[in-house]
């Protein structure tokens, strides 16, 4: 359990306290039978005073209260330690994931990262609490119980140890036998979920293709497998309860019978001691069996929590592949220049190259468009400029320097990026426009207005009740696709970058707005390098230079007119749209 190393000294002190109070608790628990024995002796001795008995009873009550207090204290610290550990893990995960580039995101997938930061940590937290409250006490309870019994005679101790050992063996066997079944079951549950989800999302297709039976058969197979495993596990686990009660009862019976034999051969005075000890033996046994109960509660959870821990550690131990350099500025005179030099790229795990031997230069202030069919590598190219991935072959240069030399924050301060689908965050309209840190300008209302104007968003923002301060829900769910896209464009404009990148950002806009936005950008962002990925030829035909990609290769570049003359693929695209 490597997770333990993330506990801080503060928590270790609390764990130490837990240990101390757990020991104190068991000590209190052990004192209670002593008083019971005392009462028994008093009861069996003619002429005892009632006051003595009540005194003993009072002491017992005191010890019980002491024990209760200790348990509460233990639970207090255990709750705090486990909550603190999970807080720290969540924090570390979040920071780590924050440093991830798309490379790592595509490796883990963002939904899995979310699950790791939430569900898996909840698992760890729940387990830690149990471990601290129960597992930690198991040895203390066991030792306490055995010591308690051992103080009263060898034959009883032997009988207890044999019985206890037998039960322990059965319990451990049952648990270890079922542990692998649990993870198998988890997989089957996931599979069942997936199949139901599929038959729901595909309901129309399933009906249209008359494929009910096809899916029912698939479901039935998994269902059968799950049921069998479920039944097997249930039946194995069901052994524990009867064996444990048989164990306790058996040991008590053995103790009584052994007691009878001791009493038969003992002096009356000695016999009384034996008798009283025998009566309270049940309570020592209770300690032992509490320990056993804890084991049965904690052990079955281990495989699941181990998986969670592994998943968390996997993330924590992943080193981001893409790290920044030291440079904070472009080479003087080259501001806004983008150069691809024989760039090749392959997505992790893919067999074919997404980009192959792509070379071009975009001069400062130029507008360059990239066009090509689905899967031709347009977005990949943008991702390389954004350094979401690093080129596998060749180099990408920005402002005259290899992109890897820039400090990451500095690199992103040069760029205004508008992705395919608008991503907005909870907050307000203006908090989204001014989103992030751009290193230069402080918050300015005028700049926000200017950015909104360029993005043709002024009008709809002004109709909102709170205007710029109108609330934005998570992922911008309270705005339409076109509105979000315009806000996303405004966000890029607000940064005043040297380079603007639009990755198919105009498709969500209607034709009229598309043109108005592009005209406004052209007017206000003079001298800014613009890289536009587009599907519509209409969007890009007035670009200074158009790059045509096909299956990852650059197959043409030039102006609209030139390409119409020379580039076959461009001709095909044009023909399909006009």
């Amino acid at each position: 359990m490597k997770i333990i190393k993330y506990l801080h000294p503060k928590e270790w002190i609390q764990i130490l306290l837990i240990l101390i109070f757990a020991i104190t608790q068991v000590r209190f628990d052990l004192l209670i039978p002593n008083q019971m024995r005392h009462i028994t002796m008093l009861a069996e001795t003619p002429g005892s005073q009632l006051s003595e008995i009540i005194l003993s009873g009072g002491l017992m009550l005191l010890f019980a209260l002491g024990s209760l207090a200790c348990v509460v204290i233990v639970s207090f610290f255990a709750s705090r330690v486990s909550a603190a550990l999970s807080m720290r893990l969540r924090d570390m995960l979040f920071s780590k994931v924050g440093a991830f580039s798309m490379e790592e995101f595509s490796h883990f997938s963002s939904s899995s990262l979310i699950a790791r930061s939430t569900n898996d940590i909840t698992q760890i937290q729940q387990f830690t609490v149990m471990a601290l409250q129960m597992l930690l006490k198991v040895p203390i309870l066991t030792i306490g119980g055995i010591l308690g019994i051992a103080g009263n005679g060898v034959s009883w101790t032997v009988a207890t140890l044999i019985g206890f050992g037998f039960v322990l063996a059965v319990v451990v066997c049952a648990i270890t036998a079922t542990i692998p079944q649990f993870s198998k079951m988890q997989n089957l549950v996931d599979k069942l979920n997936l199949l139901v989800k599929e038959s729901l999302t595909g309901r129309t297709v399933i009906r249209a293709f008359n494929a009910k039976k096809y899916h029912e058969k698939k479901f039935e197979e998994t269902n059968e497998g799950f049921t069998n495993t479920d039944q097997r596990t249930g039946r194995t686990m069901a052994i524990m309860s009867p064996v444990m009660s048989l164990g306790t009862n058996g040991i008590i019976l053995a103790i009584y019978i052994i007691g009878a034999f001791i009493i038969i051969s003992a002096e009356p005075a000695q016999a009384l001691v034996t008798f009283s000890s025998m009566v309270v033996m049940t309570f020592y046994l209770a300690l032992l069996f509490t320990a056993l109960k804890f084991i049965t509660k904690v052990l079955p959870r281990i495989p699941r929590v181990a998986v969670s821990a592994k998943r968390i550690l996997e993330v924590l131990e992943t080193m981001p592949v893409i790290t920044g350099g030291t440079r904070i500025e472009a080479k003087p005179g080259c501001n806004g220049e983008i150069t691809f030099k024989n760039v090749g790229f392959k997505y992790p795990g893919a067999s074919a190259n997404a980009l192959e031997d792509v070379s071009f230069t975009i001069k400062p202030g130029e507008t360059t468009a990239i066009i090509g069919s689905t899967g031709s590598g347009k977005t990949t190219l943008v991702h390389l400029v954004m350094r979401f991935f690093d080129a596998v072959e060749g180099e990408v240069r920005l402002g005259g320097v290899n992109i890897k030399e820039y400090e990451l924050n500095a690199l992103y301060n040069l760029i205004g990026y508008v992705p395919q689908s608008a991503t907005l965050f909870k907050g307000t309209v203006s908090s989204n426009i001014t989103y992030g840190e751009n290193g230069t300008n402080a918050y300015s209302k005028a700049s926000i207005n200017h950015a909104l104007q360029i993005a043709q968003a002024t009008e709809f923002v002004s109709t909102l009740e709170d205007g710029m301060n109108a609330p934005m829900s998570q992922r911008g769910a309270n705005f339409s696709g076109g509105q979000k896209q315009r806000l996303s464009i405004a966000r890029a404009m607000y940064r005043n970058p040297e380079i603007l990148i639009f990755d198919d950002s105009f498709s969500a806009l209607d034709y009229k707005t598309d043109r108005e936005v592009r005209d406004a950008i052209k007017r206000s962002a003079v001298g800014v390098t613009k890289l536009i990925v587009a599907q519509r030829i209409g969007t890009i035909m007035d670009a200074d230079n158009i790059i045509v990609l096909d299956e990852g290769r650059l197959v043409g570049s030039g102006t609209h007119g030139a390409l119409l003359e020379s580039c076959q693929i461009y001709q095909e695209i044009a023909a399909s749209q006009l």
Binding site: A64, S79, M87, S109, V189, N249
Partner: protein
Amino acid sequence: MDGHQKKPESTTDNSARRLQGTAMGVNHFGNVAEDVDSYGQTWKKLTVLCKKFLPSIALALLCAIVGTFLQLTVPGRLREMIDIMQLGITETLDIHSIIHLGIILAATFVIIAALNYLQSYIMVGVTAKISKKLRTDISRKINKLPLGYFNRVSMGDIISRVTNDVDTIGQTLNQNISMLLSSSVLFIGSLIMMLWTHWLMALIAIIASSICFFISKAVLKRSKKFFKAQQSELGSIVGHIDEIYSGHSIVRAYNGIDIAKKSFITLNKNLYNAAWRAQFVSGFITPLMSFSGSLAYVAVFVMGAALIIRNEISFGVIVAFIFYVNQFTQGLTHITETMPGLQSTTAASERVFQILDEEELSDETDKTQKLLDIKGNVTFENIKFGYEKEKPIVHDFSVSVKSGQKVAIVGPTGAGKTTLVNLLMRFYEPEHGTISIDGIPIMNITRAHLHAQFSMVLQDTWLFEGTVRENIAYNKKDVTDEDIVAVSTSIGLHHFITALHNGYDTILDYKTNLSEGQKQLIAIARAMLQNAPMLILDEATSSVDTRTEALVQSAMEKLMSKKTSFIIAHRLSTIKNADLILVLKDGDIIESGTHHALLSQNGFYAELFHSQYSLPA
């Protein structure tokens, strides 16, 4: 001692729900079932479900009851044993009686254990089978429900019924039914035995062991607030994480991570505070219950000793009482534990039966009419339809399509284009009017037979977890690899598939990164392979770039020749060569004709067309 195991709760996608698992354990002493009537209804249905297993269940219950009765005899025998030994301290010990009693007790213990296990063994099997049946029933039901149902109910809700709710039913049935019965017997039995043995001691023991029980009930009531707080904090942090992780490229591109971190730290701290409090409060219960045990033992010992001194009872009574108190508290705790357990069974069953009782699509076993040697003349006559009765989408739609025609349906969003397809495929039934194929009303043929007449590509592409090959071949039998490759090649998909790491055997799952366009192509390949007499394309190429679309179109063209086909398109370039273009607006045809005829009309269609293809000046 109890040692029954709970299966680890099944994982659900969202952690809030998982947390509910913990909170549930604490809600135990909560509210009473509100609606007694539906309560009874649900249990009646459950009983019907269990009918098949009634003999097994009866046997299990018998085991439980006999076992419990045997348990109740134990303290009495132990008392006898102790009394003999007590006498033995001063006089001779009757070892024969002791051994005799010992043998009886040992036998009792073994029988109890055996009965216990037999009971669990049977119940595990029964509940596993019941759960299995419920899962199968729901999964079948999904395919029998009218599609309209899914507009009302969320997907997550249905999934959670199949797994979580069925799981809850399985677990609670398994543990609670027999436990409730045996605990009740144990509780009442031990109560009677105590009172019968010595009423005064019984009274004191009962009072002592109940005090803490009520205290813990009160604590639990208050603890709900802490769990609510924890839940809501968890909700906010999950929301934040979700937003930042999903938008990570923007976070990175705008250097937003520091800001995100700042709000995260606050949320995380809040969650910490809520989490440890909730955990701490819930940790109160177990120690309180065990303290309550100690309290009762103290009472028994003190009171008992006092009575012994006065020679009113023998020492065996104290020992017997220790066991009775144990049985009594065990019974009490288990009963209170089963109550909410049964409540969740009821709640879960209600949700499961709700879906199972939904009205199904009409039965069609008596429909024997078949479309033989299909020509493909399709007529819509005076169709009226709305997804909701008050809001008709299609008002009075009539059209007659001739065999082999290529019909395009265009119009703005919400004009009812997809609705027409839904009606043609009988995914929904029109309120009024008839749709016929070759003169036969489609109401007169079975849905399955109707569906077999169409190859269909839908707007939302749907792929399932399986290989590319399985996704393309899908439900069609006797498909050769050559067929699949040929179809894929014809629409330009082959190159992409071979670039995947396992080619056609690559498993498509959540890890596979397919673009919308690529998914659409796979769906198109699937439909082309079906090669049914008629074709429906509902925005089939909306996510494919225009050049690929042209390629797909030419492949389709071959497929569509001589077939009646319906094409819904957003991009008008796709449908220029259709035989008939229907321009829909608000559920009615406002224009119809060929591309050129419509353009020269200079109406709505012409306006739509020009708005898409006007070029910047």
